[in-house]
Each structure stands twice: as structure tokens, then as C-alpha cells.
């Protein structure tokens, strides 16, 4: 999926969360968004998800302007995006498997293929022994991996990962990054990832967008 930010600004009352942001994410591209807390990283992801609309400028995904899009168009776009939220956003009274199943049901994944897809992604994130547990029975790292499995299950065109390594130990962080890189390379899936981890950024030769106080500082 292709994402374009064109002179995007977002204000919350008198607070300016994003100012005049311009960048492109081409199909199959992997980019990092970095910046301190309050820099506007989450606001940027919310704009991509269509949760909020820009105060000015335009956010387009595959040539659909989210500011002008109808609700059902935004729903359709969201069904193509795999999101890994910072706070996991797993449904508390559903098991890991049921959380993944819900995502597959939403995207109307073929029923006869669902179980094998669930098995596949659970294995990929190494959660086979935890598949029937509820989020409250999982550690932070396991919840993060469950959220990743849910995002991957739908075979997304774009993965949005909001601080996905924030709650993981070093080994699991690298495993997750490797997984995202593999998916990016194998399936030509675009990835937008926010992170504070400079080691990860340095280890991959990818485009980096630096945000500070809602403004784009640099683009590598």
C-alpha cells in the first residue's frame, strides 16, 4: 500500500500536534518514525488509520484521500492494515486464538482457511503454547506477539507498528524486527514503525522520519 502525507497539519484546539508533514511510503517500503514522547508519532499513525482527520493537508492511502473518504471506505482501508498498538489492544475476554479469529472474521477471510492461518501465525510468533490463554494471563512480551500475530494474520498490505518493541526483551525485539523485515521483503508489505530503539534503526538501512514537537526534522 502507498501512503502519502501532503502538507499535513493537525491541531487539537490551540495545540499543534503535527505541522506541515510531507512524506511518501511506497508499496513495499519499510520506514521508521522516531522522536521523543509528544513528538506526534501516535497522531501520525491515527491519521493513517483514519481515526482522526487532518486539520489541513491530505493523507492518502492508495490514492484515497482519508479526509474526504466515506466511513465504509475507511473501514475497507483498515481491513488492509495490520496494526500493532503500543498498548496491544487485545480483547480481554477472548483468547489469543479468538483475538486472531476476530481479525480474520472482520476481513472476511475464507472460513475453511482460517484455522490453518491462525496456526501459521501463532507458530510464527512462537505463541503455540499460549494460544488458548487470555490477555490477562500473558506477559507484556507475549501480548505484543499476540498483537503481532493478529496483525499478520490478515495478510496486510501495510503494517503499522506503534512502539512494538517497547515491552520486549532484546531477543524478542530482534525476533520481531526480523519477522517484520521478512514479511516486508517476502510479501512486499509496506511497514511504518515508530520506535525509540536506535540500535534497531541503525541495524536496518531503511528510511527514517524524525519528528520533534510535531515537525519533521529530518528524513533519511
Amino acid at each position: 500500500m502507498k501512503v502519502t502525507f501532503n502538507n499535513v497539519s493537525k491541531n487539537f484546539g490551540i495545540i499543534s500536534a503535527l505541522k506541515d508533514i510531507n512524506f511518501n511510503v511506497n508499496k513495499g517500503e519499510f520506514i521508521f518514525i522516531v522522536g521523543p514522547s509528544g513528538a506526534g508519532k501516535s497522531t501520525l499513525l491515527k491519521l493513517i488509520l483514519g481515526q482522526i482527520k487532518p486539520s489541513s493537508g491530505s493523507v492518502t492511502i492508495d490514492d484515497i484521500d482519508l479526509g474526504q473518504a466515506k466511513k465504509n471506505q475507511i473501514d475497507k482501508i483498515r481491513r488492509k492494515i495490520g496494526v500493532i498498538f503500543q498498548d496491544y489492544q487485545l480483547i480481554a475476554d477472548k483468547s489469543v486464538e479468538e483475538n486472531i479469529s476476530l481479525a480474520l472474521d472482520i476481513v472476511n477471510y475464507p472460513i475453511q482457511e482460517r484455522q490453518s492461518r491462525i496456526d501459521e501465525v501463532i507458530k510464527k510468533v512462537n505463541l503455540s503454547s499460549r494460544r488458548f490463554l487470555f490477555p490477562s494471563q500473558l506477559s507484556g512480551g507475549e501480548m505484543q506477539r499476540a498483537a503481532l500475530a493478529r496483525a499478520l494474520a490478515i495478510k496486510p498490505g501495510l503494517i503499522l507498528a506503534d512502539e512494538p518493541t517497547g515491552n520486549l526483551d532484546i531477543e524478542n525485539s530482534w525476533n520481531l524486527i526480523k519477522l517484520l523485515k521478512d514479511i516486508n521483503e517476502q510479501y512486499n508489505t509496506s511497514v511504518i514503525m515508530t520506535t525509540h530503539n536506535l540500535d534497531i534503526i541503525d541495524s536496518l538501512d531503511k528510511k527514517v522520519i524524525k519528528l520533534r514537537n510535531g515537525e519533521m526534522e529530518t528524513k533519511r
Binding site: L49, Q51, K71, N72, D75, K76, I77, R78, R79, K80, I81, V83, F85, Q89, L90, I91, A92, D93, K94, E98, S101, L102, A103, D105, I106, V107, R150
Partner: protein
């Protein structure tokens, strides 16, 4: 996760709210069925009296044969008289025993002497009944009592109307209460599951997708309430039908009209589904705004 599974999950997660919704629906449909069956019975009572224009003249005890013959002759002189039946004390006893054969307690103590002899006069023109009734009520020395069906029909009509009106009011009020309760319960469930709905929306679920399990839940309450409420009412009528029919003899108050009862059953289930669906639609429309 299919919708049915999700709906069942919602029901199990808040059993008391679900139970409340089902109970109110059961009460509504129990009352509706009960009033419909009673109303049908009252129609049978009315029809019985309307299709039998009759006046019954109960005679005083100790009248000689000559007097009774004169009375019968006088009755036969009226125009449009179809039939005059003389019911002797003995025959009255036989009829009484036949009507109460299932209850020996009622027949044991009764003898022919305590039952009055009577003339049952049926006519083809109900207007004649009024003349006969007026003229014979003046014969206080020979006539003990006149049962004139015009009064009875007026009275039955009045009672039928009261029962129907109170039925309509009661059922309407309970139906509105059911509607509001289901609507509020669905609203509460939506509020309880707001986080799940928000997550589903972020994953791309349409509004209809998140609503449909709640709509199905309302349909379930309506269907189940209609089914159980009607079934309980039928079961009670079935159990007491003999006693009720004995009370109304010779009129069959609870008829063996299975096609009618089947239609009522089907109609009420459909009505239940409509109430449940519209109530949950109303509730979900109010609460799912994100």
C-alpha cells in the same frame, strides 16, 4: 468468530441482564396469549347466545297440567315461534346430571324437586323474544323467573369489551416495557463492550458488523420470549381446559382449534422477533456512534 457465537458470548457474559430481557418477553407473550385465548372463548360464548334466540320461562312449583297447557298454547300463538320445549323437573334433573357428570359432588345432593320446570322458547325473529319476556313477566303467579338472552348478550358484550380493552392495554404496556428494557439492556451491553467495539472498528469492522451480534441478541430474546411465554400459557389452558369448559357448559370455551392456536403461536414468535429486533436496533443505534 461468527455472529451466532459472538451473540451467545454476549448472553453468557451478562446472564442477569439476559435473563431480565427474556423474562419480560415471556411475561408479555404469556399475557398476550392468555388474553387472545380468553377473547376467543368470549367470542364462543357470544356466538352461542347470539345464534340461539331463546327465552327460558321458569315456572312456579305446583302448577297443574291445565295451567301449563294454557301457557304453552299462549306461547305457540306468538308469530315466528320455532320451538317450544317443556322441560319438566325430572328432565331438568337429567340435564343437570349430564352437564355435571364429571363432578359427582354436584349431582349427589340434587333432586328433581328443587329444580324448576320451564319452557324454552326459540324464535326465528329475536324481536319476538322481547314481547314474550314482557308479557310473561307480568304473570307473577305462574312464572318464577324469565331468562331473556338480550340482557345476557348485552352483559357478555360488555364483559368481552372490557376484557379485550384491558387485554390490549395490558399487553401494549408490557410490550412497550419489553421494548424499552431490551433497548436499555442492549445499550448497557454495548457500553460494557465499548473497548471490544473500538478495537473491532480499528481493525476495519463496519458499523453493521459490530451491530449484528447485538441485533441477533434482540431477535433471540424476542424469539425465546415469544416461544416460552406462549407455551406456558397454552400449557396452563391445556391443563385447566376441562374445568374451564365444564364451568361454561354447554359452551366450549377452550376450543380444540389447533390451527388457530398454531397461527397465534407463529404470529407471536414473529411479533417477538420484531419487538426484539427493533428494540436492539434502537439500542445499538443510540449507543454505537463510533
Amino acid at each position: 468468530m461468527n455472529t451466532t457465537k459472538s451473540t451467545w458470548h454476549h448472553i453468557r457474559r451478562s446472564p442477569f441482564q439476559s435473563l431480565t430481557a427474556i423474562l419480560i418477553m415471556i411475561i408479555t407473550f404469556f399475557l398476550l396469549t392468555t388474553f387472545l385465548v380468553i377473547s376467543d372463548g368470549m367470542s364462543s360464548v357470544l356466538k352461542y347466545f347470539e345464534t340461539k334466540p331463546e327465552v327460558t320461562i321458569y315456572l312456579k312449583d305446583g302448577l297443574d297440567k291445565n295451567t301449563m297447557d294454557n301457557l304453552q298454547k299462549e306461547l305457540s300463538n306468538y308469530p315466528d315461534v320455532k320451538e317450544i320445549k317443556f322441560i319438566s323437573k325430572e328432565k331438568a334433573l337429567a340435564i343437570y346430571k349430564e352437564q355435571n357428570k364429571s363432578n359427582p359432588m354436584l349431582t349427589e345432593m340434587v333432586t328433581a324437586s328443587i329444580l324448576p320446570a320451564s319452557f324454552e322458547v326459540s324464535v326465528s325473529d329475536p324481536a319476538v323474544l322481547e314481547q314474550i319476556a314482557q308479557n310473561f313477566s307480568a304473570k307473577g303467579t305462574v312464572v318464577d323467573e324469565i331468562i331473556y338472552q338480550k340482557d345476557m348478550i348485552t352483559s357478555i358484550l360488555k364483559w368481552t369489551s372490557i376484557i379485550r380493552k384491558s387485554g390490549i392495554i395490558t399487553v401494549s404496556v408490557t410490550a412497550v416495557i419489553s421494548f424499552l428494557i431490551i433497548s436499555v439492556i442492549i445499550g448497557m451491553k454495548i457500553t460494557n463492550r465499548k473497548e471490544e467495539i473500538n478495537i473491532s472498528r480499528l481493525l476495519g469492522a463496519s458499523k453493521h458488523y459490530v451491530k449484528k451480534s447485538f441485533l441477533l441478541e434482540g431477535i433471540f430474546y424476542g424469539f425465546f420470549g415469544g416461544l416460552v411465554g406462549t407455551a406456558i400459557s397454552y400449557a396452563l389452558f391445556y391443563k385447566f381446559s376441562q374445568q374451564i369448559n365444564t364451568f361454561f357448559q354447554p359452551i366450549i370455551f377452550i376450543r380444540d382449534n389447533y390451527s388457530l392456536y398454531g397461527l397465534i403461536f407463529l404470529g407471536e414468535i414473529i411479533l417477538g422477533i420484531i419487538i426484539g429486533y427493533t428494540a436492539s436496533w434502537f439500542g445499538s443505534k443510540r449507543y454505537i456512534k463510533f
